[in-house]
Amino acid sequence: MKTIRRFNHVDAHTVEEAASILRGGGASALSGGTDLLGTLRFEVLPEYPETVVNLKTIPGLDFIKEDAAGLRIGATTRLEDIARSETVRARYGALAEAAHRSASPHIREMGTLAGNICQLTRCWYFRLPDNRFHCIRKGGTQCFAVSGDNRYHSIFGAIRSCFAVNPSDTAPALVALGARIQTDRRLIDAGEFWDMAVPGSTVLAPDEIVTEIQIPRPDAGSKSAFLKFAIRKSIDFPIVNCAVAAHGGSARICLNAVYNKPWRATAAEESIRGKAITEESADAAGAAAVETARALPGDRNTWKIQIARTLVKRALLACA
């Protein structure tokens, strides 16, 4: 089995230290390690870092706190701790469920929330070892999936010609709950946080460090839900997932694994606005959610459109 190639390892003790090392170039940020170490072992990316900088040794980034304003979760908080937290389960249910359905129990004990929202795409052309497909996300000039096996790829088109999807389960929950991501230099709305980058999945600068995630306290009577479609109940990345946060006559609906970044289903939100959530209204919202969805060439991912439609409907009904 392939051994991981050598790198230097530095324990960062402050955010500034970590940012400074990343600024120097040739360095990768290491949180839980469940994404980065796999990319290093299989040499997925064209460049291999000389140094890996450990963010887990920065004190004060591992916490779950709630106050009158809402929930704050530190960047290096483990997914399993979020899934088990009574506070998160009670009032921010979509996030607790999303964290619980992420990956496997072991990966949840290691993986962090910041790492989960920053993770790289799982597109199998991107992920083939030894940078076998030097695609757009690695500085190349084309997408191999759009004319290849794209059964798991985007149903809402591309961002700058990349048709891969974002694989995070927590991301759509954060969008639906109106979260904001605090970095060492700015506060970013969840709706603005993800983008197609080379090779990243976010708008973060190469030396920018996420410090915490904030979720506003929901109004009394709010409900949220998260659903994930995957072949297996554990380990698998989502084929489609959906998070809904609803209160009164309005809902925030976010799909993921259907586009290059989390997809806010604004057409579905319009469809359900001012209406009670019923079988009929939820069904109509599901249909609205996928009205602009299109299968990719080859029609291998048509099936995802139906799944997205159904998850929107069921997630809404779970908030009725």
């Binding site: 392939k2 050598r6 796999g38 290691m110 076998r132 030097h134 000039t141």
Partner: protein
């Protein structure tokens, strides 16, 4: 048709084609003409020649590489104290197997984090030792299946009584995960057991026998 060599370690002398370069060229050759006929995809259709991958690597010259000295890590494994020199890129699995000689953590999926056969317990958490860096385990308390067996934990007998293994390759990983569950939850339901063991795969399909084994061990622990 270029001749495909069996080994990837072919010398890059002129005239020889390695499997790696064949696949790279084949991927690019398939991509460009197919895309040229798809309307509405910006930036793709205009490609007149196959997109270039990264330039072929120059043969390496002798280079001085700046490496830091090995790190020293002090940790406890199955109750015993160790003080070890570790390379920064070593996994905990490597440290346990190759340095300490505890071979229960296995390698099945090649380090993808997809099988659970390398599971050990670190500070009470069941984790994948293949994706845990040894140099980050300073001060850690690590438990492996060897230690769990030696301590007489009822999970071992419960696995035997319930026939919860066949070839035994996945068993140490399952045992560590189950023990970690029982440490945290002394009264798990069958659903709790299934949920907790969801990250451990078994190629011999022993799956149905695991929840009864976990529940039996829970009953034994309550008696003690």
């Amino acid at each position: 048709m270029p001749e495909e060599k069996k080994s990837d370690a072919t010398p890059k002398s002129s005239g020889s084609v390695s499997r790696r370069s064949f696949l790279k060229d084949a991927g690019i050759a398939v991509g460009a003409p197919a895309l040229a006929s798809i309307p509405g995809i910006p930036g793709q259709a205009a490609a007149a020649e196959p997109a270039a991958g990264p330039p072929p690597a120059e043969p390496p010259v002798c280079t001085t590489i700046q490496v830091e000295a090995q790190k020293t890590v002090e940790l406890t494994v199955n109750g015993g104290k160790y003080r070890l020199a570790v390379e920064p890129h070593w996994s905990l699995r490597q440290l346990l197997r190759d340095t300490i000689g505890l071979t229960s953590p296995k390698d099945w999926c090649g380090g993808l984090g997809a099988c659970g056969s390398c599971t050990v317990i670190v500070n009470g958490r069941p984790v994948l030792s293949c994706l845990t860096l040894a140099c980050e385990c300073g001060g850690a308390a690590v438990e492996t299946a060897e230690g769990i067996a030696k301590s007489g934990h009822p999970i071992i007998q419960a696995y035997i009584d319930n026939n919860a293994f066949q070839c035994g390759y996945c068993t140490p990983g399952f045992v560590c995960t189950a023990k970690a569950l029982l440490d945290r939850n002394g009264d798990p339901t069958e659903a709790d057991a299934r949920d907790a063991l969801g990250g451990n795969l078994c190629r011999c399909a022993s799956y149905q026998q695991h929840p009864p084994a976990v529940l039996q061990a829970a009953r034994e622990l309550k008696k003690a």
